[in-house]
């Protein structure tokens, strides 16, 4: 075993862990009267370093470390960079919006960073037990973050709901892992891929796959496992929603891609129709429910369910194009979603004085910057061209269509037409004049939202990412494609496990 190379294979996770520990220790060491804000900057710098470390991993030859449990490849780097970027945006957003006097601020930052460790590990894990551990690390951190506003009624309720339902889902996942272990005698993903086609007990594998899918689809909030989403998003602090609606989902989708395309590609005739149904259900349920919402965060929660559906459409695509499309869509979705939650955080404030769509009335008059950005991100969510949202949908549906799923595409695009109605309601509320003569004004007091340097940086990152993905997506697509090519189980000899460095599959 070569320890040096193993450590390089988990370098981003290592950097994030050390950052999290450092933040906690500093928090304990700081006198109580000191402001905790610098801790947020420590976390942000650590995350940036982790992002940089992930990019550095591109130089490593593709392969596994720690006895074949952790993989580094273009695929993992893609998701590491994405997740670190999202965590960074969430940290910068929290820096300026968390109230100065809020308690346990240090822990807040530490938890975000620890959650990132779990998410990053989840995308790199090729051993189902490590997958489970990584999922738990990320979940536990987010359970706590969701309930961070203890003084409200909704906060703890959301946290408990999320925790209970999340635990159920994880139990499903674990049960599925156990069944697959029972059928194949291993929990290593490459090994399962090798053994599954010839396994004696086919039914056991099918059941295992089904249970694992339940667990994963819960995490990505796809219908019919979506019921927790609106309540949790409504109760959680908005900067946390910006994080949990993007980064853990990206990690869970990475796991889904791994399970579907790498672990059990032979069961495509089974999981493909299942995901077809889930995709259509998610889009339709998400959009129809969103139409009826008046609370902005609940509406965006249902919208994220619908987007999970559009993303799942990519799974109808043939092997590497399907993976590529899904990776790209995740990036596009994450960029615009983190952006819109950032804007909502700033517009309605940390304590959410303005939760309803009508409260956003006249936003563009109160703050032209926020109003314009809100409309921009909504346009991207609608799927207006030259934004990431359009390009993601285009590539996802184009892939599904070349995979032969014509009805999925028709239903999906009709759904996105329907979705325009509720996004537009919010956009038009923001564009509406704040005061209407003769009627009582619904406009809130002239709150000028505080927009600091950190938030500007966060917004700039989200806007830039959304535009780049919409106008010059070439590089991201190439990265996603490179990742897609590495997501084929490489032939591994069980005897040379862990210390053998496999040559990259990509020429």
């Amino acid at each position: 075993v070569n320890p040096v190379s193993d450590i390089f294979r988990v370098l981003p996770e290592l950097v994030l862990t050390l950052t999290g520990v450092a933040v906690m220790l500093l928090d304990a060491a700081f006198p109580p009267r000191w402001a905790r804000r610098p801790l947020g900057w420590v976390a942000a710098i650590g995350t940036t370093l982790a992002l940089w470390a992930s990019l550095g991993q591109l130089a490593l030859p593709m392969g596994t470390g720690f006895s074949g449990t952790v993989e580094t490849s273009a695929f993992t780097v893609f998701f590491h960079v994405l997740i670190c970027g999202l965590v960074l945006v969430a940290l910068l957003l929290s820096l300026d919006t968390l109230p100065e006097e809020s308690q346990h601020q240090g822990e807040f930052y530490a938890l975000i960073v620890f959650g990132a460790v779990g998410m990053c590990l989840l995308t790199g894990a090729v051993e189902l037990l490590l997958v489970f551990i990584a999922l738990e690390i990320s979940s536990i951190a987010t359970y706590v973050l969701v309930g961070y506003r203890k003084d409200t009624v909704r906060g703890p309720e959301a946290a408990i709901k999320y925790f209970l339902l999340g635990s159920f889902a994880t139990a499903f996942l674990l049960y599925g892992i156990a069944l697959i272990f029972g059928a194949t005698g291993t929990t290593q993903i490459y090994e399962i891929a090798r053994l599954a086609p010839t396994a004696q007990n086919h039914a056991l594998i099918l059941a295992g796959l089904g249970l694992m899918l339940v667990g994963i689809l819960f995490k990505v909030s796809a219908a019919p496992f979506h019921v927790w989403t609106p309540d949790v998003y409504e109760g959680a602090p908005t900067p946390v929603v910006a994080l949990i609606s993007t980064a853990p989902k990206a990690a869970a989708f990475a796991l889904l891609l791994r399970v579907a395309y790498e672990m059990l590609p032979g069961l495509r005739p089974v999981w493909s129709p299942l995901l077809w149904v889930v995709a259509v259900l998610s889009m339709t349920v998400g959009n129809l429910a969103a139409l009826r919402q008046t609370n902005v965060k609940r509406m965006l929660a249902y919208s994220s369910i619908a987007h999970a559906g559009y993303l799942l459409a990519a799974f109808a695509g043939l092997d590497s194009t399907g993976i590529m499309a899904a990776c790209f869509y995740i990036a596009a979705y994450a960029a615009m979603n983190v952006g819109i939650f950032a804007v909502v955080t700033l517009a309605s404030g940390y304590d959410e004085k303005l939760p309803v769509i009508d409260d956003f009335r006249g936003l563009i008059y109160r703050s032209p910057l926020l109003g314009s950005l809100l409309i921009f991100f909504l346009a991207s969510l609608v799927g207006i061209p030259f934004t990431g949202g359009f390009m993601g949908k285009l590539i996802s549906f184009s892939t599904a269509l070349s995979g032969g799923a014509i009805w999925l595409v028709i239903l999906g695009l009709l759904n996105s037409g329907l979705a325009a109605a509720y996004y537009l309601r919010l956009a038009l509320a923001a564009a509406r004049r704040p005061i209407l003569e003769g009627k009582e004004t619904l406009a809130p007091p002239q709150v000028a939202p505080r927009v600091g340097a950190a938030v500007i940086a966060a917004l700039a990152m989200a806007v830039l990412a959304t535009l780049v993905l919409g106008i010059i997506p070439g590089d991201t697509l190439r990265a996603a494609e490179a990742g897609a090519h590495t997501l084929k189980a490489p032939p591994v000899e069980s005897s040379t496990f862990g210390n053998a460095v496999e040559p990259p599959t990509q020429p």
Binding site: A379, I384, P385, F397, V409, L424, R425
Partner: protein, 547 residues
């Protein structure tokens, strides 16, 4: 050296035309909102764009077949999307028309927009880029991109600067035009899945080679047609039109209907699917004639002049649709000519009505009356533009309507032509009655209550050229028609292989066909990414032709 510089300009002119309004929008956003600074930046930008667009007719070679000033750059590798622009006889003058109406729109908004000027003009300029992009794009995804992009500034501007209930009209407009474009995108993606190309010219060849399943192609063509028909709008799909006209700021109302949809029909419905078009053409002709009569009848009974203009537009646009789906060369020439003329005339009428609305704050026709004595210049120009809309000989409307009706009469059916002519006569009735009720008769209380304030110098500077243009279009149509004819290839004169057999005099027909077949050979079906090669070949051939 000069030759090289001109070559460079020819190669980059279309990109410049698209980028200048965007750059102007950026400038408007960055500049401080002081006084009328945004107005001046927008005016300068639109004038520069107009100037650039005039480069196209100056250097267009009408005898040369195919697209000119073409630009092809790979945009995305997989799926293979190209930044592919080009103009031909169909789109050339439409680009110039958009260029011309932009400064008119800025002038129409000069005093009408009093707050949030930066936002208004920035979005207005983005809208210009989107519209120009629709006319210039030859890659279906790029085209679809601009098509959808044009909705956003329009919807926001209607919502924010609408007259009474902008947001509601904006929602209606957006959903009406956005939802039908979902099937359009499905159709485009389906074509891509089958052919591996989004390129207009490549697709035209592949579709007409007859190797694609006929049943599905019928649906694909229908999806294209549906999206365009809503945008025009064609008769039963016009629900958004009246509200949008009532609410939209003048600068946008004059461009919201017609052009984009009609051009898309010519280029992307009939151009791509000649065989499928022939199946739906009789239905479209019927709907168009119904639209002509229905629009005219409703216009007759409107009490609000915005709504009257909306139904008048429905009637006129239906007439153009009739010309297009008659599938005759004469009808097409008339249709394109009438799109241009209608754009100019409607621009002038909207500008004048907008001025009246700004001054008297009502669009109820009954409230007006007897304005001619107080506002003689306004009245004169309004009458002049109304006559242009009605189709009085020696004004532009006559040429277009005459050609359309002639094409219908000789090429389609005498009955439809006669019915459509009836609509044109009704058009004279409602427009003249509008003129009478607004400007003549006893002076109304409203007219008496405000001090007379006729057109100012700046407004005259916009309107007078438009009036002159209407006149020139009426007496010298040969300035435009040869170019239009060069681009018009109605499918009734297309043989089974889909290649046009009619070429303008002097066109290098054999070369063109050689180019097409070379492209065809290099484009085996379903081979992904191949369109890059096709485009490279086409590009080199086009380069040779230009030399």
């Amino acid at each position: 050296m000069n030759g090289f510089a001109m070559n460079d300009l020819n190669n980059s002119i279309l990109t410049l035309i698209l980028l200048v309004p965007l750059a102007g929008a950026l400038l408007v956003v960055l500049a401080p909102e002081r006084g009328k600074l945004p107005n001046w930046i927008a005016l300068a930008t639109t004038l520069v764009t107009f100037g650039l667009s005039l480069h196209l007719p100056a250097h267009f070679i009408p005898t040369q077949a195919g697209f000119q000033f073409e630009v092809i750059r790979p945009w995305i590798e997989s799926p293979a999307i190209f930044y592919h622009l080009g103009v031909d006889g169909l789109s050339l003058w439409l680009v110039v028309l958009v260029g011309l109406l932009a400064p008119v729109g800025v002038m129409a908004s000069w005093n009408a927009i009093t707050e949030r000027r930066k936002l208004f003009f920035a979005l207005f300029l983005v809208q210009q880029t989107a519209m120009l992009g629709v006319f210039l794009s030859l890659d279906l995804i790029l085209y679809y991109g601009f098509w959808e992009l044009s909705l956003v500034p329009m919807a926001i501007l209607i919502a924010m600067y609408g007259r009474k209930d902008g947001p509601k009209a904006a929602l209606k407009f957006f959903l009406f035009t956005f939802i039908p474009s979902a099937p359009l995108l499905v159709a485009i993606l389906w074509l891509y899945a089958r052919t591996g190309s989004f390129d207009f010219a490549t697709l035209r060849i592949l579709i007409n080679s007859g190797n694609l399943p006929a049943y599905q192609m019928g649906w694909v063509a229908l999806a294209f047609l549906f999206a365009f028909a809503v945008k025009v709008p064609v008769f039963p799909l016009h629900g958004w039109l009246a509200d949008t006209f009532s609410e939209a700021p003048v600068a946008l109302a004059m461009v919201v209907a017609g052009k984009l949809g009609l051009y898309s029909m010519l280029r992307f419905h009939i151009g791509l699917f000649p065989m499928q078009t022939r199946a739906v053409a009789p239905v479209m002709v019927g709907l168009a004639v119904v639209g002509v009569l229905y629009g005219a009848c409703l216009a007759l009974v409107q009490r609000d002049f915005w709504r009257l203009m909306a139904f008048a537009a429905l009637s006129h646009l239906s007439l153009i649709t009739l010309g297009i789906y008659g599938l005759t060369l004469t009808g097409w020439e008339g249709a394109v000519y009438q799109i241009l003329n209608h754009g100019v005339v409607d621009g002038a009428l909207f500008l004048l009505l907008g001025l009246l609305y700004d001054r008297y704050a009502t669009s109820q026709i009954n409230a007006y009356g007897g304005l001619a004595a107080k506002l003689p210049r306004t009245a004169t120009l309004f009458v002049f533009a109304s006559l242009g809309l009605i189709g009085l000989p020696i004004l532009g409307g006559f040429i277009g309507e005459f050609l359309i009706l002639l094409g219908t009469f000789t090429g389609v059916s005498k009955g439809w032509a006669i019915a459509a002519t009836l609509g044109v006569i009704l058009g004279a009735a409602y427009m003249l009655s509008l003129v009478m009720r607004l400007f003549y008769g006893p002076e109304s209380k409203l007219a008496a209550s405000r001090p007379p304030e006729d057109l100012r110098l700046g407004q005259m500077a916009v309107l007078a050229p438009l009036a002159v243009l209407m006149f020139v279009m009426g007496v010298a149509p040969m300035l435009w028609l040869p170019t239009i004819e060069a681009g018009a290839h109605p499918p009734s004169v297309v043989n089974t292989s889909g290649f046009s057999q009619i070429h303008p005099p002097g066109a290098k027909a054999p070369d063109h066909n050689a180019a097409l077949s070379a492209r065809l050979k290099s484009c085996p079906l379903t081979k992904l990414g191949i369109s890059a090669d096709c485009n490279a070949i086409a590009n080199s051939i086009n380069g040779e032709v230009q030399r």
